[in-house]
């Protein structure tokens, strides 16, 4: 191994290493840029809002007046059951891995899988005239498995993003008829 060649090798190796590293840096930057632009990353405002709403949800659930037995505060369904105002079970979101209260799952998924409004507008909407009646068997709603007990409470919360739009657009399934 001759001296100059070794130096040359070292220099070349460093050059190529730098090359590889620069490429990877550009890749990472590009990926982060994409995530930022598509709103896929949970940025701080959203996290804070989700935390706040989660805390709210848990407080409602912990409230002693929310027993799951007979409760005059809440609507009774056709089987005579009352549901707690916010579904209490905690799941792990399969998309981002966070622990989310079931009652907060739908709005969370909205944000988690893509920016809320855009994601929901992809679902086809029938005419606004066809309201609750029409929505019973709607196969289209993306949230059917999730939103079981949340809808009425979305209304009472006045959270506009979920309750208002869906009711006025009509294809959102009837909350209590969902099986």
């Amino acid at each position: 191994m001759s001296g100059p060649n070794e130096d040359k090798n070292t220099q070349l190796s460093s050059h190529f290493f730098g090359d590889l590293l620069d490429s990877i840096i550009v890749d990472v930057a590009s990926e982060c840029h994409r995530i930022a632009k598509l709103g896929l990353d949970r940025n701080l405002e959203e996290e804070e809002e989700e935390m706040r709403l989660s805390v709210q949800a848990r407080a409602r659930v912990a409230d002693p007046s929310n027993s799951s037995e007979t409760n005059t505060k809440y609507v009774v369904d056709i089987f005579g059951q009352t549901h707690p105002s916010v579904a209490t079970e905690i799941f792990e979101c399969m998309n981002c891995g966070r622990s989310i209260a079931a009652g907060r799952f739908a709005p969370h998924l909205e944000k988690c899988m893509g920016k809320g409004r855009k994601a929901r507008l992809k679902v086809t909407r029938s005419s606004t005239a066809a309201q609750n009646r029409y929505s019973r068997g709607s196969p289209v709603s993306a949230y059917s498995p999730y939103s079981n007990s949340t809808s009425t409470n979305r209304l009472s919360n006045g959270t506009p993003s979920v309750a208002g739009e869906e009711y006025s657009n009509g294809t959102y399934e009837e909350p209590w008829n969902k099986t």
């Binding site: 190529f16 632009k37 990353d41 940025n43």
Partner: protein, 113 residues
Amino acid sequence: MTRKHSVNRPPTPDGAEDQGNEPILQEIINIKLIESGEKERLMEMLRERLIECGWKDEMKALCRAYVKKKGRNNVTVDDLVHLITPKGRASVPDSVKAELLQRIRSFLTSAAL
């Protein structure tokens, strides 16, 4: 380290005379790296190591913080590249760097020179 700075040497067509034939050598090696598939392998290896050691997460965190500060619609890829390049280059773990350099060297000695 330009060693072929000969005055008598005729000018090369692409005007690279002041750098000697180093860029050309680099080019040749680069081509060999690519053609043999070694460059791809090295890239994947480096990527993997950088993920394992948390380097990528650090870079992503830097990017996220920047995006949060600037607002996501005001950020360009270029901004992010300039943001993470200095830190990125400096924070590669020595072991990772050594491993890659070693691998590149073996390639150089076996294939090029």
